[in-house]
């Protein structure tokens, strides 16, 4: 850990020295570059205002809020079952994963536990949304570097995963399938065999991507040693998920706090990478997609039979109390702090979304980098705008 900190220190000193040199020798004037809010490289409407000195960023300020929908306020006038419709739209690439922590928090307050089969299917769909989400990242990373092919591969193979999700839930992007006490429906007939075939396809996709990226010199040049986040800084800013694991933090809520999901019963591994650069973030996500396909295979084999819904009153009133539940979503730690006053609606719902924290590190991270690296660093941090703006 100290080694990385030293390196970071050196990098910082070098950046400062470069600033001073440029300013003194060339007497350049700074320039303000506005990136976004609508720019292809910003994944939505994140705007970045960068102060430049030549090609170097002196300071970068992300401006969020172009898509703020006020879910925390809206959920105060929605019943608990209605809130899942809202939270579906936070991270829209892995929607099902957004519902799970909220439902688990409500279940904890009500003292209900979903039946085993529901927990298994929840875990299954949770990992499916992870694949649907991260596959797109793997392709998108190429676009940010000027390689278009991986994106087409990603969209092609994500479609198979989305089809499987649609067959169960009826929705490609917004399943709204999780219920307090269980799930809306059971799996359709023949689904499991098809899913296994799809997982095989996803693994092939991972091999393709690995071949395309890992041997490409340009990719290594543009990502190795770029945008290094030391573990201590990552933790201070609340960077979580794959980004944290790429900085060498051995932390995965699926292993460390597997509330209501069946991860302890599966055989899988938490991948970490010591470097903390853009390359590491890409590599960790690639391994996580592979790991997720392995988990899905195991769940398909071990799925217990039984009911998928616990006994739940028709009108759901959640007893007074407070609950915090977070899960390891595709983008990082996603959690809900639910305060209930015994009503039909949450009294207060604090949504802790992963991208908000992951992006809040950018002013620190982009200081001193070169303009083209802004794009790769942002791409490797991987955020979804709905997950920042909520």
């Amino acid at each position: 850990m100290t080694a990385v900190t030293d390196r970071q220190k050196l990098q910082y000193i070098a950046a400062k020295a470069a600033d001073a040199r440029v300013n003194v020798e060339l007497e350049t004037e700074g320039m303000t570059l506005n990136i976004g809010p609508q720019h292809p490289a910003t994944h939505g409407t994140l705007r970045i205002v960068a102060r430049l000195d030549g090609e170097q960023v002196i300071s970068a300020e992300p401006v969020a809020g172009y898509m703020h929908r006020g879910y925390e306020k809206l959920s105060e006038v929605r019943t608990y079952p209605q809130v899942t419709t809202l939270v579906n739209r936070i991270d829209w690439l892995g929607s099902f994963a957004n519902e799970v922590p909220f439902i688990l928090a409500a279940e904890q307050l009500m003292g209900i536990e979903a039946p085993p089969r529901a927990q298994w299917i929840r875990t299954l769909l949770f990992e499916m949304s992870r694949i649907a989400n991260l596959v797109l990242f793997l392709g998108d990373m190429g676009v940010q570097l000027g390689a278009v092919t991986p994106t087409f591969y990603a969209f092609r193979d994500r479609e198979f995963v989305l089809n499987q999700i649609e067959r169960v839930t009826g929705g490609r992007f917004h399943p709204n399938f999780d219920r307090i006490g269980g799930l809306k429906d059971d799996l359709p007939k023949g689904w499991i065999a098809d899913t296994k075939a799809v997982m095989e396809k996803v693994r092939e996709f991972c091999d393709e991507i690995e071949e395309l990226f890992m041997n490409a010199e340009i990719f290594a040049e543009r990502t190795r040693g770029i945008g290094v986040i030391p573990p201590d800084v990552a933790m201070q800013y609340g960077v979580s998920g794959s980004n944290a694991r790429a900085s060498g933090i051995d932390w995965d809520l699926r292993r460390d706090a597997p509330i209501g999901l069946v991860y302890p019963e599966l055989d899988w591994k938490v991948w970490t990478h010591p470097d903390g650069d853009s390359f590491a973030r890409f590599w960790v996500r690639l391994q996580e997609v592979r790991e997720a396909t392995r988990m899905i295979d195991q769940i398909c084999d071990g799925l217990p039979s039984g009911p998928i819904m616990a006994k739940v009153p028709r009108i759901i009133k959640v007893p007074e109390g407070e609950a915090w539940i977070s899960t390891e979503n595709p983008l990082g730690e996603m959690g809900y702090y639910v305060v209930s006053k015994g009503d039909l609606t949450p009294f207060r719902l604090k949504i802790r979304s992963a991208s908000f924290n992951n992006v809040s590190i950018t002013p620190w991270l982009l200081r001193g980098v070169y303009v083209p690296d802004i794009i790769t660093i942002l791409a490797s941090l991987y955020f979804i705008l709905g997950d920042i703006d909520r």
Binding site: V77, L86, G238, K341
Partner: protein, 240 residues
Amino acid sequence: MTDETSTAPADDAAVEEEVERDELREELLASFTDALGDSLVGSHILPGKDLWIRVHPEAWREAAEVARNRLGARYFCFLSAIDWMPSPFGRSLDSEVDKQLAGEEGPAEEPVIEQGYAGGETRFQVFARVARVGEPNRFWGVTLKADVPDDTMAAHSWTEVYAGADWHEREAWEMFGITFVGHPGLRHIYLPSEFEGHPLRKDYPLVSRMVKPWPGIVDVEQFPGEDDEGDGSDSEGSGS
């Protein structure tokens, strides 16, 4: 909903089984008490689940330092605030707005402010969550709370302890109107800079809520056979 440092309300028979105590969290609470002394004014443990600690407003920053530097909770999860005043709008079905819509006069009750776990005395509270991460099997998190004095509406900023608190405090500032002393730049983060009001305060009306019946009304209306009139004619949820 108890405060004070005692944890197990042993009056409930159902609690019998939960008497398996939460040693990890009790130890954690002990170390916090050790470090903060009298500044720790309330706590709550849900065995096997979570720990809440409330500190004196003056010790809000110190609590962060203790958590981070002494106990190793170097991971900053989030920081936000709660307005404990019951909302005059949309708290439940019998809220004043619904009564006005239905043409009844609601009895103007004085709202009773009732704080949650670990207690409290003021209408607003800041709360934050930090965790110790990075070592398998030694993961824990804690929710810290502090009252926000009604007259100053200010709390100490955490930005010097956890750099990531920056954006969260900006959000809490614009949503609740709580000033964070020592924050490098309290600016709007989501809302336009000319925005007036603090939307997450309970007395800030949600406009779509004022012009449409309560979106949840469809869930509780009576079945066709047993009703008299049913006011759920226009009851589909208001789309966002």
